[in-house]
Amino acid sequence: MLQTLVLITSPPYSPQAQRALILAAALRTRGIAVGVVLLQDAVFAAVPPNAPPAAATIDALLSNAVPVYVAEHDLRLRGFSAVGLPAGVQPVDDRRIVDLVMTDNTRALGCF
């Protein structure tokens, strides 16, 4: 079955990032396998304690077993580390992001 990988580069307070997170949640609700990859300014969405609405949506995704990946490079560049990430959020390098995108039966949706 097709899995959708939602990629987000926009900052959490932008309508773009919020739309992407809403779509990820909606895809999941419909029973579609979803993963979320946070890149660039979108990594702020995973840095705790971050505020709603993005953080709340991320929490909801995690509790619905949606894997959330964060580009570690972009996190470090901004002065954050993978150590403080919420449980379930996975720091990833570029190679891992590519592997996720190129996995069989995966369709990339983004970057938002």
């Binding site: 580069t9 660039q40 300014d41 190679r95 590519v98 995108v101 190129m102 995966t106 983004g110 970057c111």
Partner: protein, 119 residues
């Protein structure tokens, strides 16, 4: 999983922010993983493929893409986007050729994955 084709659709200027850098990083990682990688630059994305950049304080797009082209990154540029911006052959990075929307669709038909970087 190796040996697939990834196409990156790059739409923003190289020094407007982080998109060109992200495109370079993902292209590099995909090439190193053994995939074929196309980059189609559209709109302000074509500015990344001009010559003579001397970036300071942020990654040099010209140098980065030049190296990736040497590593077999396939680059096509939206031709009308070049024309609108006055970017003639004398400005262009070698290995980054003008193409068309049909060229983009041709790449997409043969791609396993597509990512937009920019906007």
């Amino acid at each position: 999983m190796a040996g697939k084709t990834l196409t990156i659709f790059l739409t923003t200027a190289p020094y407007a922010g982080e998109h060109a850098s992200t495109a370079m990083r993902l292209a590099k990682a995909a090439l190193e993983a053994g995939h074929r990688v196309n980059l189609f630059a559209s709109a302000d994305g074509v500015y990344a493929f001009t010559a003579g950049h001397r970036a300071k304080g942020l990654p040099n797009a010209e140098a980065g893409f030049r190296q990736l082209i040497d590593q077999e990154l396939h680059v096509e540029l939206c031709g009308s986007c070049l024309t609108i911006r006055g970017l003639g052959p004398e400005h262009r990075l070698s290995g980054a050729e003008p193409s068309s929307m049909l060229g983009l669709f041709r790449l997409l038909r043969d791609s396993d994955a597509l990512i937009t970087v920019g906007s």
